[in-house]
């Protein structure tokens, strides 16, 4: 797509910019992908107008669409794409914004290009240019969406396992459901952070609600216990079911340096003792 002679695209954008803009706005309004709920007509017009200006400058530079002269256009489209994705536009909706520019441009070219053969060349240039920009926009939108989803997944991970302040200086982390490596990692980090925030010297990690544990998860658990110890706190792992105990032994995971208890209650009793507390009855048991 080497173009050393000035293109009619540049001419059209320079001299018929207003007409192109009006026609383009009509195209966008007619498109089923219009989202008046997400963006106002005024804002849309302002963005379209700005893009046309940048396109004009880029076309005048004489560079091919992959060249440096089109960088400002690409940057504009990138940030437009990212912000539209954040607003809730799909990649297709965002790309249609670009592709809908073809019709207005083609009409103008048909009007100003002198002969048929030249017209075909100019249409080709225009269409491949807009295609390249549309693809760029789509690509950025897709990446932005992927990043958004990843972030939402991380947030969900954190929310799904709250750290509980069981007593003065005693935290509990009840884990429920299957643990995967990513989830365990996030959860452990937030436990350690809570230890610092609350100044708790004991943390009980209860895995009563965990059906199975694999080597990776077991290693993460041990890593957390070791890290907590380096910080000056102790962890107790409670609620280890017989099946998990068997798995741990079978996997050869070494828990000899970690305090473990069968039940959360036992772990709590131990935690109280370690933090210098004792619990006692003040009234006789009311037996039925």
């Amino acid at each position: 797509m080497a173009t050393s002679r000035p293109t009619f695209l540049a001419t059209v954008l320079q001299e018929n910019g207003a007409a192109v803009l009006d026609a383009w706005m009509r195209e966008q309004a007619d498109a089923p992908t219009l989202r008046p709920d997400l963006i106002s007509e005024a804002e849309l017009r302002q963005q379209s107008s700005e893009l046309l200006q940048l396109l004009g400058a880029a076309a005048r530079s004489g560079d091919p669409v992959s060249g440096v002269g089109w960088d400002p256009v690409r940057e504009f489209l990138s940030s437009l794409s990212v912000s539209r994705t954040a607003m809730g536009f799909t990649a297709v909706e965002t790309a249609t914004f670009i592709f809908s520019l073809k019709q207005p441009i083609f009409e103008q070219l048909r009007a100003v290009v002198p002969d048929g053969k030249r017209l075909v060349d100019e249409l080709w240039i225009a269409t491949t240019t807009i295609d390249a920009l549309g693809l760029h926009t789509t690509s950025v939108a897709l990446e932005a969406r992927e990043r958004l989803i990843l972030r939402q997944q991380e947030d969900m991970l954190e929310l799904s396992t709250p750290v509980v302040n069981l007593w003065d200086g005693i935290l509990a982390l009840p884990m429920i459901g299957t643990l995967d490596s990513a989830r365990t990692q996030v959860v452990m980090e937030s436990l350690l952070q809570r230890i610092v925030e609350t100044g708790a010297e004991v943390a009980i990690i209860d895995i009563t609600g965990v059906p199975t544990v694999d080597t990776l998860v077991a290693q993460h658990l041990i890593k957390t216990v070791t890290a907590a110890r380096l910080m000056g706190a102790d962890c107790i792992i409670s609620g280890i079911r017989p099946q998990i105990a068997a798995t741990i032994v079978h996997l050869g995971v070494d828990l000899s340096n970690v305090a473990t208890k069968a039940t959360l209650a036992d772990a709590f009793r131990l935690a109280l003792r370690r933090s210098g507390h004792s619990l006692g009855r003040t009234a006789p048991r009311k037996d039925a």
Partner: protein, 147 residues
């Protein structure tokens, strides 16, 4: 940092930002390098733990370059692969080279290169790790941490 532009096509990691080479000639340089790496990791929105991993690995590798490579230089690069963002650290020196890389990577190796946890530790902290070294031909270590 000089921005580099490539067309976004295949999912091949592409450096989008490259630092000027950072000299590693003194222990003060190592501190400066840590700060630069930390700044870059923060800017690329790595989590606090990941930042710490990357900076610690950088410190280990920089020290190796200084103490056993006779000094050298480092390169900090931001990589993009599709939606993934990564930080790539490259350490180069023209020192004596590593005769036995496997041995150097094992912990507890204290004579010559390796110094216990340096190389092996850095490898554990990063996602990708490569060493090119030949006795008499210098050493290059590349480590990447992805988001």
């Amino acid at each position: 940092m000089r921005p580099r532009r490539r067309p976004v096509s295949m999912r091949v990691p592409v450096p989008v930002l490259t630092s000027d080479p950072v000299p590693i000639r003194s222990s003060g340089d190592v501190v400066l390098l840590r700060q630069q790496v930390r700044a870059r990791a923060i800017e690329q929105a790595f989590s606090l733990v990941d930042q710490t991993r990357i900076v610690t690995a950088a410190s280990e590798l920089a020290r190796n370059t200084l103490d056993y490579g006779g000094g050298g230089r480092a390169l900090i690069e931001v990589l993009k692969e599709g939606p993934r963002v990564g930080l790539r650290l490259t350490f180069e020196d023209s020192g004596p080279g590593i005769p036995d890389i496997e041995l150097a990577l094992s912990d507890g190796y204290t004579t010559g290169r390796g110094l216990g946890l340096g190389l092996g530790g850095a490898r554990r902290l990063m996602n990708e790790f490569y060493i090119e070294s030949k006795p008499g031909a210098g050493t290059r270590v590349i480590a990447i941490r992805w988001h």
